[in-house]
Amino acid sequence: MSLDGLATQLLALSTGALLLTAALLVWRRSLAAAARLLAVQGVALAALVVSIAAAERDAELLGVAAVVLALKGVVIPLVLGRGVRATGVDRENALRVNPTSGLVGVTLLATLAYLVSRPITQATAGIGGTAAGPAAFAVPVGLTMVLVGLLLVVTRRRALSQLVGFLVLDNGIATVAFLTAAGVPFVVELGVSLDVLLVALILAVLSGRLHAALGAVSVDELNELRD
C-alpha cells in the first residue's frame, strides 16, 4: 500500500476512534475510566495529525503530533487522574440525564453535525490538497466532538466531569482545525495545548480544594456568586 493509502486508512481509523471515545465518555460514569478514554482520544488525535503529516509530507506537523501526544495523550489524563484520586470519589452519581438517553443525544448531535458540515466539506473540497480528500469528509467528527463535549459539560454535576467535557470540546475544536486547515502551525498548537493544560490543572486543583472544603463537589451548589 502506498504512503497515501496508509495515511487515508490511518485518518479513518483515528477519526473513528475519536468519535467512539466521545460516545463512550457519555456512556461511562467512572471518572477513572474517563481519564483513560481521554488518553485514548489524545492518542487518536495525535495519530490524526500524523496521518495529515504523512499526506502533506510536512515534517513540522510531526512535531505538532508529538506535542499533542505528550500533552493530550499523557499529561492531561494524568492530571485528571490525580484529581480523581485527590477527591477520592470516582463515580458520577448524580447524572442529569441517564446514559441511555445521553447516547441517543449523541446520535442526534452527530446527525446534526453531519447535516451542518456539508457546506464546510464542500467549501474545503474546492481548495484542493489533503483538505479536499478524505479529511474533508471527516470534519463532522470534530463538530460532533464539540457538541458532545458541550453535552457532557451541561449534563454532569461534578467539577471534574465537567472538565472532561471541556477537554472533549477542546479536542473537537483541534480536530476541526487539523482537518480543515491541513495542520496548525507548531507555535499555535503548542500555545493552545498549554492553555488547556493550565485550565485542567487549575480545575483539578480547584475541585480538590472544593472537595476538602465542601465535601461533595457538585457545581450546582456554587450558585451564590451572582448579582
Binding site: R96, L109, L112, A113, L115, V116, R118, L147, L150, L151, V153, V154, R157, V219, D220, L222, N223, E224, L225, R226, D227
Partner: protein
C-alpha cells in the same frame, strides 16, 4: 518626533514595573519619579508637535494589518503639553501625598497608565490608536477613583457611576466614528476628514461624538459622574482628571469640528453654544452652594468646560459671519483650556493638602488655615484668583479674549447669530459674577477666620514635595496672566489663527479687533494709582491719636465661638434663595422641645441638602427602568453555571439547526 513618543511609552512601562516591584518604603519615590519622567516625555513630545514637528510612530499590534499610528498635529501637541505638564505636577505631588491605600501597588501602577493614555489620546493619528489610548485613560482613571473603595461606600458608588458613564461615552464615540468610517472607508483621521459634513450621516456622527466627548468633558446634562468621582478620587488623581482628562473631551470636540468635519451646519454650533451656556450657569450655581470643597471644584470644572464649549460653539457660529471674531473665539477656547488646566491643578492639589492636613473636606468645618498652612494658602489663593478670572491671571486673559470676540461680533447678518451672541454675553457675565462669589467663599471660609473644627485647629503644613507642586502650578496661573502674549501667539499657531502678537512686556494684541491687553502695564498703572492713596491714608492715620479698644460692655462679643462665624452654607444662603427654583434644595428643621413645655425649645437642628436636579429628574427615572429590566433578567440568571452553559449549548444547537436548513 518619534523619540519622545517612544520615550514616554518606555518610561510608562518602567513606572508600572517600578510600582509593582519596588518595596513599600521606596515605592512612592521610585514610581513617582518614573511617572514624572513619563509626563515630562509627554510634554516634550507636545512641545515638538506644537512647534510644527511632523513624523509618526507606528506601533504594530497583535492583529495582522492593524498598525497603531501616533502622529500628533499642532493641536494635538498642545493637548499633549497640557496633559504632560499637569501630569508632571501631579506626579511630584503624589510622591508626598500618596499614603496608605492610595500608595498601594495598584494605585501607583494605575497613575502612569492613566497619564500615558491621556498623553496618547491627542497623539493618535488613527481610530485604533485613539480608542486604545482613550480606554487606557478611562481604565487607569477608574482604578484611581476606586482607591478608597474598601473604606467608603460612596467611593464604590462614585466609581460605578464613573465606569458606567465612561463606558456609555465610549460606545457613543465608537458609534460616531463607525458612522464616519462607513462613509469614507478610512480609519485614519486624514481619510475620515473626507466625509461630507452636510450629509445626514455626518450629523448623526456629530451627535454621537458630541455626546461621547461631552460626557468625558462633563458638560451638563452629561456631567453626573463629575461631582461624584472627583471628590472620591485621591486628590492627585482628581487634579489630573479635572485639569487634563476632561480636556480630552474638549480635544475630541475640537477634533470633530475642526479637523474631521469642518464646515458643518449652523445648528451644530448653536447646540454647542447652548450646551456650553447651560453647563456654565448650572455648574457655577451648584459650585456656589456646595459646601464640600472638592465637590465645589468638580462643579466649577463643569462650569469652565461649559465656557470652553461655548467659546468653541461661538467660533463655529461666527465663522461664516465674522472671520476675525471667530478666530478670536477659537483662541479664547484654547486659552480657557490652558488656564483652567493651571488653576484647577492648583486648586485640587490645594484641596488635597487641606484634606491631608485636617482630614476635612467640608468647608463648614474648616477655617483659619492661613496661619498654619501658609504655602497651601498662597497656592490655593492664586488658583482661586484664576478660577474667579481676576487679573492678573490666565483665567482673566481667557475670558477677556472671549468677550472681545463676542463684542466685536456685532452687526451679525444671520438671525441665529444675532440672537445667540447677546444671550451668551449675559451668560458669561452671570457666570463670572457667580464664580467670583464661589471662590471668595471657598478661600475665605477654608483659609481665613477661625478654625471651625479640631482638625482645622491642629493642621500642619504639608511636606515639601506637595508644596513645590502646588506653588509651581500656582505660579503658572499667574504666569499665564502676566505674560499672555507669547502664550496666545503659541496657541494661535496651534489652530492657524493669524493676527495675534505680543506687545510690551508680554502683553497680547489682537489685530483682528484692535484690542490690546498688557497686564504688566496694567499692574504698574494700578499700583501707581493705589499707592499714593495708601501712603496718604497712612500719613493721615498717624495724625490721629492712637486708640485702644476695650469693650466696656461686651454685648456677648466676649463669648464668641468659632461657630458664630459665617459658614459656607450661610454665605451662600442669599444665592440659594434667589435660585431656589433652579436648585431645589431640601431643608429640614427639627425642633426638640424641653420635656416640661412645648413652648421652650431644647435644641433646633437645621439641615439642608442640595441634590443635583439633573440627576434626580433625568437619570433617576432611567435608572429605575433599567433596574426593573435587570430584575426581570435576574429570574433567568439564578447563579447556576450549568444553566448558563446549557443556554450556550442550546443557542449553539439552534444556530446550527437554522444554518443547516
Amino acid at each position: 518626533m518619534t523619540a519622545p513618543l517612544v520615550a514616554q511609552l518606555a518610561l510608562a512601562l518602567v513606572a508600572v514595573l517600578a510600582a509593582v516591584a519596588a518595596p513599600d518604603r521606596i515605592r512612592g519615590a521610585v514610581a513617582g519619579t518614573a511617572t514624572l519622567a513619563t509626563a515630562a516625555a509627554g510634554a516634550w513630545a507636545g512641545v515638538l508637535a506644537l512647534g510644527g514637528a511632523t513624523g509618526a510612530l507606528e506601533v504594530p499590534s497583535a492583529l495582522p494589518g492593524v498598525v497603531l499610528r501616533l502622529a500628533p498635529d499642532r493641536l494635538g501637541g498642545l493637548f499633549m503639553l497640557v496633559a504632560g505638564v499637569v501630569g508632571a505636577a501631579v506626579a511630584v505631588y503624589a510622591i508626598g501625598y500618596a499614603h496608605g491605600v492610595t500608595a498601594s501597588r495598584t494605585q501607583w501602577a494605575a497613575l502612569p497608565v492613566f497619564l500615558l493614555g491621556m498623553q496618547l489620546v491627542p497623539a493618535a493619528g488613527d481610530l485604533v490608536a485613539f480608542l486604545l489610548a482613550w480606554e487606557l485613560m478611562a481604565g487607569g482613571s477608574t482604578v484611581l477613583v476606586l482607591a478608597e473603595h474598601s473604606r467608603r461606600a460612596q467611593t464604590r458608588e462614585a466609581a460605578l457611576w464613573y465606569a458606567v458613564t465612561t463606558h456609555l461615552s465610549m460606545l457613543a464615540i465608537l458609534g460616531g466614528f463607525a458612522v464616519l468610517a462607513a462613509q469614507t472607508g478610512a480609519t485614519d483621521f486624514a481619510g475620515l476628514a473626507a466625509a461630507d459634513p452636510r450629509s445626514a450621516a455626518a450629523s448623526l456622527a456629530f451627535v454621537l461624538l458630541a455626546v461621547g466627548f461631552g460626557t468625558k468633558a462633563g458638560v451638563v446634562p452629561l456631567h453626573v459622574w463629575l461631582p461624584r468621582a472627583h471628590p472620591e478620587a485621591p486628590s492627585h488623581a482628581s487634579a489630573a482628571m479635572s485639569a487634563a482628562m476632561v480636556k480630552m473631551g474638549v480635544y475630541g470636540l475640537l477634533l470633530v469640528t475642526l479637523r474631521l468635519l469642518p464646515g458643518g451646519p449652523t445648528w451644530w454650533a448653536a447646540v454647542l453654544v447652548g450646551v456650553g451656556a447651560l453647563s456654565a450657569v448650572y455648574g457655577i450655581l451648584q459650585a456656589a452652594v456646595a459646601s464640600d470643597l472638592k465637590r465645589l471644584l468638580a462643579y466649577s470644572t463643569s462650569e469652565n468646560v461649559g465656557l470652553i464649549v461655548l467659546a468653541l460653539g461661538m467660533a463655529l457660529l461666527l465663522r461664516d459671519e465674522a472671520d476675525a471674531p471667530a478666530s478670536l473665539a477659537l483662541l479664547a477656547c484654547l486659552l480657557l483650556v490652558v488656564s483652567h488646566a493651571a488653576f484647577k491643578t492648583t486648586l485640587f492639589l490645594g484641596a488635597g493638602a487641606v484634606l491631608r492636613a485636617t482630614g476635612e473636606r467640608d468647608l463648614d468645618r474648616l477655617g483659619g488655615l492661613a496661619h498654619r498652612m501658609p504655602w497651601t494658602t498662597a497656592a490655593f489663593g492664586l488658583g482661586a484668583l484664576g478660577a474667579a478670572a481676576l487679573p492678573v491671571t490666565g483665567g482673566f486673559v481667557a475670558e477677556w479674549t472671549l468677550l472681545q470676540a463676542m463684542i466685536h461680533a456685532a452687526e451679525p447678518g444671520e438671525r441665529v447669530v444675532a440672537a445667540t451672541v447677546p444671550l451668551a454675553l449675559g451668560v458669561i457675565a452671570l457666570t463670572a459674577g457667580l464664580a467670583l462669589l464661589t471662590f471668595v467663599k471657598a478661600f475665605g471660609i477654608a483659609f481665613l477666620a477661625r478654625p471651625r473644627s479640631l482638625g482645622a485647629e491642629t493642621a500642619r503644613e504639608v511636606p515639601v514635595g506637595m508644596r513645590v507642586a502646588m506653588v509651581a502650578s500656582g505660579v503658572a496661573v499667574v504666569g499665564l496672566g502676566v505674560a499672555p502674549g507669547p502664550v496666545a501667539a503659541g496657541l494661535a499657531q496651534a489652530v492657524g489663527v493669524d493676527g495675534v502678537g505680543s506687545a510690551g512686556l508680554g502683553g497680547v494684541t489682537l489685530d483682528g479687533v484692535g484690542a490690546v491687553l498688557d497686564p504688566v502695564a496694567l499692574a504698574v498703572l494700578s499700583v501707581a494709582v493705589v499707592l499714593p492713596a495708601i501712603v496718604a491714608s497712612a500719613v493721615l492715620a498717624r495724625r490721629r491719636p492712637r486708640t485702644v479698644g476695650a469693650p466696656a460692655w461686651g454685648c456677648g462679643r466676649i463669648r464668641t465661638s468659632p461657630r458664630m462665624q459665617y459658614t459656607a452654607t450661610s454665605y451662600a444662603e442669599p444665592l440659594m434663595r434667589v435660585f431656589d427654583d433652579a436648585l431645589q434644595p431640601t431643608r429640614d428643621i427639627e425642633v426638640t422641645h424641653v420635656a416640661e413645655s412645648q413652648y421652650l425649645a431644647d435644641r433646633v437642628q437645621y439641615s439642608q441638602r442640595v441634590d443635583d436636579v439633573v440627576e434626580v429628574r433625568l437619570y433617576a427615572p432611567v435608572i429605575r427602568v433599567a433596574d426593573r429590566v435587570a430584575d426581570a433578567a435576574r429570574r433567568v440568571q439564578n447563579g447556576s453555571i450549568t444553566r448558563y452553559l446549557a443556554f450556550a449549548f442550546a443557542a449553539l444547537v439552534v444556530v446550527l439547526v437554522v444554518v443547516s436548513r
